[in-house]
Amino acid sequence: MLHLILFSVFGIICVAGAVNLLAQRHPINSALSLVVVMGSLAAEYLLLGAEFVAAIQVIVYAGAVMVLFVFVIMLLNAGEEERTEGSRVALLFGIPGMVVGSLLIAWVLITHSGNVTVAIGALPGPPKTIGWLLFHDYLLPFEVTSVLVLIAIMGAVVLASRPESTQRKKEG
């Protein structure tokens, strides 16, 4: 019972953070709303029994990715956005599309999940289980993903170092 109440509370906080992200005009407020979304998602994972995923969610997303977001906003000194009337495309297609999409997801979830509900805390995710899955059952996908990340890092290094090398050519 307490689990259910907490789960709903964090769910509401999560959705409220997401709505606030869109409603805020200042980028830093939006970024902080996203931190709230990440934090409440971590709390949801924790309530579902996936402690490891919850901790990683906080460390990676709230603690590293969002810090870099905030860092970039601070570095560029991004000001408040101007509020526009909104494009006609968004009004005509965007909002109906969103409504239809969310109804579709809700319908699929309600009709296809049947009467089987997963009890809270029934999906235990201790670090050992996750480690075994990652480094044994799904070793190849995991390693392929890490190569993908490596390529992304190399791309970032190349992009970041380009101006300096052209400068050197000019000087030389």
């Binding site: 901790a55 860092f71 601070m74």
Partner: protein, 346 residues
Amino acid sequence: MLSIETFILVSVIKIVITIGLLLGGVAYTVWLERKVVGHIQNRWGPTRVGPFGLLQPIADGLKFIFKEDLTPPHVYKPLYIAAPMLALIFALTSIAVIPFGNWVTIAGIHTPLQITDVNIGLLVVLGITSLGVYGVALAGWSSNSKYSLLGGLRASAQMVSYEIALGLSLVGVLILAGSFSLREIVDAQGGTFWGFIPRWNIFQGQIVAFFIYLMAAYAETNRVPFDLPEAETELVAGYHTEYSAMKFAMFFMAEYANMITVACLASLLFLGGWHGPLFGPPILQAILPLFWFVLRVFVFLFIYIWVRGTLPRFRYDQLMAFGWKFLLPVAIANLVITALIVAARA
């Protein structure tokens, strides 16, 4: 199992005692720092308030409370007010999973000397401390002043960079212990090699990791020689330039609380936690583990202060190069070697 009422009562008592001890520790670490740095610089440090200036922290606290709480007109108010709170909240929360000693039985209640024992304790501490950067970064941004902004920028870049080396230096310890639970990591360090060398992780080949942790921890807590976010010779006071009275004090308390947490973590992970020689009557045997733990934390804090009194500040590019080009490769090498040794042993 305890009944729910007893559980809540015991938890509340433990929280009050731990937070009280932590804040007392913060106050007297400040006193210790002023005293030790004073003596290093051939001064006396605080001497006027009470014997050896021992009441100085209380006087300072009162002064902070009664000072005018000035809010400059050019700040972005919601975040300006929230930033010191965030810094202090995250600094105080991370102590929740730190164990101070073994299980004890007081008045028939069997309880660990720790607010809560979670099996991912180390990850919880890392997660909460990684959120602490928001307090500093947002303070710098919301103050709307160039010095604060530079301080905030430096803090966020520095803390994200050094977190990687810090995290990797701990993985070796995790491989040896095979657990994220701080209690199990300490338990794995009990006993001795050949009867006289304690089985602390630092003597189990993690000595390199310990020094990486030490250096990364200085950067994480914004302490000399890595106190670039508040470098007073270049940035006035860095991210807290525009803060006064209790809001400033909250940043100060957060910094020292973080120092204590880092010192606790170092003693638990590398220095054998509360393990130490036990002797004397039962009551002394019950208190000694706590004493050994506090002694380690004290030594670690003393080294912190010693370093502050000795070393000059790094330049910012030196700091970044040191973190990424030296600490990180060494941490990865240490991790690979530890993993190979453990795999060869198994």
